[in-house]
C-alpha cells in the first residue's frame, strides 16, 4: 500500500513537471524576452568598422546557390558573391553550413552573421525583426516530375505524393497560400534536404518534388528523365537575412554588392551559372 502511494505521488509530480515545462514554453512573454536577450548580445558585436571577418550561413546542399564543389570547397552563386563582397570590404570570408529548418535560430545564436543561400524573403521574418536585404532574385516554385509520367499540371497530381524540403518557402507555401492545392495531393512528404527529395522521386517513392525553379533547372540539366511542369505556383524573392539590429552590416553588404554590380564582377559570377537565369537577377535588370 505504501509503495502504491509513493508511486502515485511520483506520477503526479511527473505530470505536474511536464505541464509546468510546457507552460513555460507557452508563455509568449518569457520566450520573446530570452530571444530579445540573445539578439541584444549579438548586437554587441560592435561597430562594423572593426569587423575583420564575416561568416556566411548557407544550406550546403542547395545548388546552384550554395553547395560543395568538386574540390570539396563550398561554392555556388551566393557563395561566390559573398566571397567577392568580403574581398571588397577586406573581411575574412567564412562559411557555416546551417541546418536549414533551424537557420534563424542559428543566426540568432551568432553561429553565422547572415543567412544567404537562396533564401526566400517571408513576411514572418520581417515581423520577427530580422533585417532583410533588398531582394536580389525573382524566384518561382515549380513541380518537378519524371519524364513520361504524364503529369502536365498541378491538377494531375491529385491524390499523388509530393516531396518538399523542410524549412523551405515551398513548405510554407503548401501550408499556407497553397494549402488548398496541397489538400488535393495524397501525401506531402518533408525531407531534410533536396537531394533526399530527388532521391525519393527517382526511386518512385513520390510523384513530384515542389522546389525552387533554379534548383529544379540545375537538377534537370544534370540528370536525364526529369521535367518541370510549366506552371508558376508561387512568385517570391530571395534576400539575405541579418540579425535584428544589424542594419549597418546589411547596408555595408548591400553597398558592396552595388559596387560589384557596377564594376561587372557580379555579372561575371552570374555568367558562370547557366542554371541561374540572368533575367531573374534583380540587380542586373
Amino acid at each position: 500500500m505504501k509503495k502504491r502511494v509513493t508511486a502515485l505521488i511520483l506520477a503526479v509530480i511527473t505530470v505536474m513537471l511536464a505541464f509546468s515545462l510546457a507552460g513555460c514554453g507557452g508563455k509568449g512573454g518569457e520566450e520573446s524576452s530570452t530571444k530579445e536577450k540573445i539578439k541584444n548580445e549579438s548586437v554587441s558585436y560592435g561597430s562594423e568598422e572593426s569587423r575583420t571577418s564575416f561568416t556566411m550561413g548557407i544550406d550546403p546542399e542547395y545548388p546552384p546557390f550554395s553547395y560543395m564543389g568538386d574540390d570539396g570547397e563550398y561554392t555556388g552563386f551566393d557563395v561566390e558573391v559573398c566571397k567577392a563582397v568580403c574581398d571588397y570590404l577586406g573581411w575574412d570570408f567564412e562559411v557555416f553550413g546551417v541546418n536549414w529548418d533551424q537557420k534563424l535560430i542559428q543566426l540568432d545564436a551568432g553561429e553565422c552573421d547572415c543567412v544567404w543561400s537562396g533564401m526566400t524573403i517571408l513576411d514572418s521574418m520581417k515581423e520577427s525583426g530580422y533585417v532583410i536585404s533588398r531582394p536580389y532574385f525573382d524566384n518561382e516554385q515549380v513541380l518537378l516530375v519524371k519524364a513520361g509520367s504524364g503529369f502536365k499540371s498541378s491538377k494531375d497530381l491529385a491524390g499523388k505524393d509530393v516531396a518538399v524540403q523542410l524549412g523551405t518557402s515551398g513548405e510554407s507555401l503548401l501550408n499556407e497560400d497553397l494549402a488548398d492545392l496541397a489538400a488535393t495531393f495524397g501525401n506531402v512528404i518533408t525531407c531534410d534536404s533536396f537531394l533526399k527529395c530527388f532521391t525519393e522521386l527517382e526511386g518512385n517513392a513520390v510523384d513530384a518534388v515542389f522546389v525552387d525553379r533554379p534548383v529544379a533547372d540545375s537538377y534537370v540539366a544534370e540528370h536525364d528523365g526529369f521535367v518541370i511542369i510549366d506552371e508558376d505556383l508561387g512568385a517570391e524573392q530571395y534576400g539575405i537575412a541579418f540579425r535584428s539590429g544589424d542594419t549597418q552590416l546589411c547596408a555595408l553588404v548591400e553597398g558592396a554588392i552595388d559596387a560589384l554590380v557596377a564594376d561587372g564582377t557580379y555579372a561575371e559570377i552570374a555568367a558562370k551559372y547557366e542554371d541561374i537565369d540572368e533575367g531573374n537577377l534583380i540587380f542586373l535588370k
Binding site: 508511486a7 511527473t14 505530470v15 511536464a18 515545462l21 510546457a22 507552460g23 513555460c24 514554453g25 507557452g26 520566450e31 529548418d101 533551424q102 534563424l104 535560430i105 514572418s124 520577427s128 505524393d161 516531396a163 523542410l166 524549412g167 513548405e171 510554407s172 501550408n175 512528404i189 518533408t190 525531407c191 531534410d192 533526399k196 532521391t199 525519393e200 527517382e202 526511386g203 518512385n204 517513392a205 513520390v206
Partner: protein, 216 residues
C-alpha cells in the same frame, strides 16, 4: 498556434513513433535471441557470421543504416523506394537493435553457472526443456536492467526516422517549430519522450518485480 494545437498536432505523430517502437521490440527481441544463439554455435562459420553481423550493426550509426535500408535497394538494384516508410524504418531499427539485444542476451547466458545444466540433466530434462524451463527465465530476469536501458534508448532513437522522411512525432515538431519560429514544440517533444520513458521504466520495473521469483 496555441500550445494545445501544437500538442494535438504532435500527438498525431506519436502514433507513428509508437509504431516504430513496438514493431521494433516485437521483431528485434526474438532476432536478438537468434543472433546470440548463432554466435554461441559450435559451428565456426555460423558463429563468425553472427559475430560479423553484431560487429557491423553495432559499429555503424543507425542513421546510416536507415539511409542504407531505405535508399540502398534503389541505388544497388533499381528497386523502388518504399512509399510506406514504416517498412524500411522498422527493418533498419530491428537489425540495429537486434545486435545490441544479442550481446545483452549473451551476457545473461554466459552468466549461468554450468551446475544448472548439469542438475537439469541429472533430473532428466531434455536440452529443450532445460533451455526454456530453467535457463531462459533466469536469463531474462538477469538481463532486464540492461534491456530496459536499451529500450529507453530506442524510444529516443525513434526521432532518427526523420532522416528518411518518416513523419513521426519529432518530424512534425520540427515542422511546427520552423513555421512558427518557436521552441515550444521541442519542449513538448521533450515532455512526450520523458513521459513515454517514464511509462517504460514503470512497466519494466513491474516486470522485474514479477520475475524476482527467479532471483538466486
Amino acid at each position: 498556434m496555441t500550445l494545445l494545437n501544437i500538442i494535438v498536432k504532435m500527438s498525431e505523430g506519436l502514433g507513428k513513433t509508437c509504431a516504430i517502437f513496438f514493431l521494433t521490440l516485437l521483431f528485434a527481441i526474438p532476432l536478438g535471441m537468434i543472433v546470440a544463439s548463432l554466435r554461441g554455435s559450435r559451428f565456426k562459420v555460423i558463429s563468425a557470421v553472427a559475430r560479423a553481423y553484431i560487429s557491423i550493426l553495432r559499429g555503424t550509426p543507425l542513421m546510416l543504416q536507415l539511409i542504407a535500408v531505405t535508399y540502398g535497394p534503389y541505388y544497388l538494384f533499381g528497386f523502388s523506394v518504399s512509399r510506406n516508410k514504416l517498412i524500411p524504418v522498422v527493418i533498419a531499427f530491428t537489425i540495429n537493435y537486434a545486435s545490441y539485444f544479442a550481446e545483452i542476451y549473451r551476457s545473461g547466458l554466459d552468466s549461468m553457472p554450468v551446475g544448472q545444466y548439469e542438475a537439469a540433466q541429472v533430473l532428466g530434462y531434455s536440452k529443450m526443456q532445460t533451455y526454456f524451463k530453467i535457463i531462459l527465465p533466469q536469463v531474462i530476469r538477469r538481463i532486464l536492467p540492461s534491456l530496459t536501458n536499451e529500450i529507453v534508448t530506442l524510444v529516443k532513437d525513434t526521432s532518427m526516422a526523420f532522416t528518411v522522411s518518416y513523419q513521426e512525432m519529432f518530424t512534425i515538431g520540427k515542422q511546427i517549430a520552423n513555421s512558427q519560429t518557436s521552441f515550444v514544440p521541442f519542449v513538448v517533444a521533450g515532455v512526450f519522450y520523458y513521459v513515454f520513458n517514464a511509462l517504460v521504466g514503470f512497466v519494466m520495473g513491474r516486470v522485474e518485480k514479477r520475475m524476482s521469483y527467479y532471483k538466486i
